[in-house]
Each structure stands twice: as C-alpha cells, then as structure tokens.
Amino acid sequence: MNQRTVVAVCGKGGVGKTTVAALLARLLREDGRRRVLVVDADPAVGLGMALRIFPPRTVNDVRKEIISTVREHAADQVDLAASVDYKMMEILEEEGNLAFLSVGRPEEEGCYCQLNMLLREAIEFLSSHFDLTLIDAEAGVEQVNRRVMRSVSHLLLVSDVTAKGIKVAESIREVAEEAVDYRKLGLIVNRVRDPEEARAVCESTVLPLLGFLPEDETVREFDAGAENFLEIPSSPALEAARECLLASGFLSS
C-alpha cells in the first residue's frame, strides 16, 4: 500500500465502540488477504477481551522495561530504538493475519517525553508494515492524536441512536478537523432497533453515514458470555459491519 491506512474507532463511552472494532477485526480476519495490526488503545482493554487475546505484556510494560534498561546500562539512541523495535515485535500477539497490540493501563506519574516519543514512533513504524491498522481508541481523539497515533487516516465514529452519542461523535469530528490529518471520516450507528430510529439519526446529524448496525441477539450473547468475536457466526450486525467496511473501502466485495 502506498498510503498507510490507520483506522481509529472512536466514540462516546458505552456506545459499543469496542464491539464494532471487534466485528471489524473478525471480518478482516476472515478476509485474510491483508495483514492487519489491531491496537487496543483503550485502558479498559475491552478489545482484547472481545477477541480473547490476552497479551502478557503491553506497550506500557515495554515503556517501563526500557526506562529500567536505560537506568541500568549505557545505551545510545540507536540501541534504544532497536530495543523498542524488538520489544514491540515481541509483545505482538498473532492470530493468523492479525497482530494484536495492547497499549495497556494509563501511564504513571512522571515525565518520559523522549521515551513516549520513541514508543509512538515504534507503533508508527510497526503500522507501516501492515496493510491496515485498526485502533480501538479511548473515548475522544486525544489519545489517538497525541499519545498513540500521530496520523490516523480514517476515523470511524461510533454512536448509538441517542442524541448524546451523536453529539459526542460530532464533537470528535470538530476536534479531529484541527488535530488529525485524516483522509476519510464516517459514522456507524450501533444498536439500531428499527428503520424509524435510523431515519431519526439521519435527520439529526450532518456526519457522513457509513451504516447502521442493528440490535443483534448473537452479539449480545457473545458480549454477555465473553465469547471470542473472531468466531462470531454470520449475524445481522456482522453483515451490517461488513457493509460498513465495504462502504469505507477497506474491504472489497
């Protein structure tokens, strides 16, 4: 790919952003034609739970290890960068064509600006070797913009049908206009019960719509039972997510 494709799934907390990211990961796993880096950038580590991928170490652990190494040994910037590169590769959990990276819990107190820059660049370096990077972001774009990914190319805004969810999605777009050099942005509306709800959302927002995901009993069961979304069978929400991927151009039919 000539242009890096970094997809950040953003939205208000509780709208099903992680579920949408998990469904997209499931579809990209099934598609199998491209190598996908999946980044769980939410400190709640929900995406790892949804995909049943539990990396023993996270980016934050690597950060701490590097700090410790620097304190114990002499190392120059090149050695440091090589170490970060090695450790980032080491913490990737692989599932076929998917490689999974967990950013981990929030950082501790203290200033490690140089190191954070190294880590951010290491993630960017990794993403450049994948056809697509899918990030399940923390609510808002702050994390995607500053701490995890500098350049998100595609913003997938997720909302439920509530006015509050839509409003937050619109706010994220406003912030992104200034802060993220994205190429494409679209809204996915989750847990839609009927055409009336969909119509009401259409009338309430100017955000470009990628699609609607219906309320889905299979998704509810997988969520409730903490089952592996990579194995979720065909269901209305999954097929609607597939349509969204097709609409956004990430998946060809």
Binding site: R35, T69, H73, A74, A75, D76, V78, D79, A82, S83, D85, Y86, K87, M89, E90, E94, G96, N97, A99, L126, S128, H129, F130
Partner: protein
C-alpha cells in the same frame, strides 16, 4: 593491541575446537542483492523458519580486529543449515568479525552496528536487543523456498559491513546447533558487552571520573579502552590522566 583482542581470542579458540570436532563447516561469501528497502515484519503464519526468537537461545556479537587476522569472506556454520532445520524454531548465535582501520572507535562501532541491523533482505525479518545481545530472525516461507540459507545470511552480513570504507575484511560465525554451543560463547559475549557499554559511556557521557564509573574494571583490563579514555581526555581538555 585491539579493543576486542581478548574476546576475539576466545572466539578463535571456539572455532578451532568446533572444527577439530568436525562440528563446523565453511562457506564462502557470495554477493547478495538486498531487495527490501526497510526492516520488515513477518508474521508467524508467513514464517518458514524462526531463529533466536524470545525464549530460545540467542547471541549477536560484533567485534573488530586491526591485526589482519580476519579471514575475509569466510562463513562458518556450527549446526544445521537453515533448510536442514526443517521449519519451526532454532537457536542462533551470529558473530561478525571485522578487519580494517578503526580510527574513531565509537563512530566505527555505530556504523558497523547500523549496517548489521539493516540487512534489507527480502523475506527476512531481524530484530535485535543490543543490551542483551539478542538477535531474532524470521525467514518467510517464500524466502526459504527460494533457498535462503546460512550462506545467504552470512554473505549479507559480510556485504553490509564491507560497504563501509574503513572495513577491509569480514568473517561471520553462525551457530544453530544448540543452546549449549551458544552458551560456550558467553564469556566472549559478556566481555564484548562490557567493552561496548564502556565505550558508549565514555563517548556519550564524556565521563572520565574513574572513581565513580561502574566500568572502571573493564577499562583497567582492556588496554585499548584506557588508550581511548586518555585520548578523549586530552582532546576534551579533561583533568589528570589516570595512568591506569
């Protein structure tokens, strides 16, 4: 006297022993055309062979010699060649010995290290952990099918370091046989690590206070490090030269 004289002696002894036991075989350098522009990521499902991966034994050493003792173009393999391993995983030690003129030791070390980090071989992923002297390689199924072997890796390493203008000769030792065979290199490896760390500290921190430096014993035992320290002190207008 060279910076890596002692560990090089250890490696020469190791090589002689393996040869005498019939455990070493040699290949000669053949030019390799790098075809990848940057380090690659090879996922497990595309991997034909994994060498020195986390959890297996791994060592990566880089040493130089200015006495003309490096056998230019020689690649020595202790253990099975890559196609003979038959997929899966194997331990790996990678020792690159370089002959040439090393007027600025730190710059030379950095240039050599950069050259070996970035081989640019298509279907070959390498990751290094300098502080632990670890090298982790994945060779893609496609590259294995194309005949990627120890001679290709050894040749790529030789080619990479010989692209530097201060390098006259390069020799590579690869060990794939067992963690025990790799462990036999640990004495040399530890010494190389200490020397390199002392060198980095000397140049980057410009620290010449031997009373507080944790590498003082290394400097005391490696004549070349003392010489470098004295030269840097003189160049930078440091205090009294410690006669060592």
């Amino acid at each position: 006297m060279g910076l890596f004289e002692e560990p090089l002696k250890d490696i020469r002894r190791y090589l002689e022993e393996k040869r005498s036991l019939g455990k070493a075989r040699e290949f000669s350098y053949t030019p390799v055309l790098p075809r990848a522009s940057s380090p690659q990521v090879i996922l497990s499902e595309d991997t034909g062979l994994e060498l020195g991966s986390p959890g297996t034994s791994s060592r990566s050493l880089l040493l130089w010699d200015d006495s003309g003792a490096v056998a230019d173009g020689r690649i020595t393999l202790v253990g099975p060649d890559f196609p003979e391993i038959g997929g899966g995983r194997a331990p790996l030690a990678q020792v690159v010995m370089v002959g040439g003129r090393f007027s600025d030791e730190y710059d030379c070390y950095r240039d050599l290290r950069d050259a070996t980090y970035n081989l640019g071989l298509l279907g070959f992923m390498t990751r290094v952990l300098p502080g632990r002297q670890s090298v982790w390689c994945r060779i893609s199924r496609e590259a294995m099918a194309r005949g990627f072997n120890a001679q290709v890796l050894g040749s790529a390493l030789i080619q990479a370091v010989k692209s530097l203008d201060f390098v006259d000769a390069a020799e590579v030792l690869l060990v794939t046989s067992s963690p025990e065979d790799i462990e036999e290199l640990s004495g040399a490896a530890d010494l190389v690590q200490e020397i390199v760390e002392a060198l980095i500290k000397m140049y980057e921190e410009m620290n010449f206070d031997c009373d507080t430096c944790e590498y003082v014993e290394v400097c005391d035992s490696v004549v070349e490090l003392r010489r470098i320290r004295e030269r840097l002190q003189a160049e930078r207008g440091g205090g009294e030269v410690d006669p060592g």
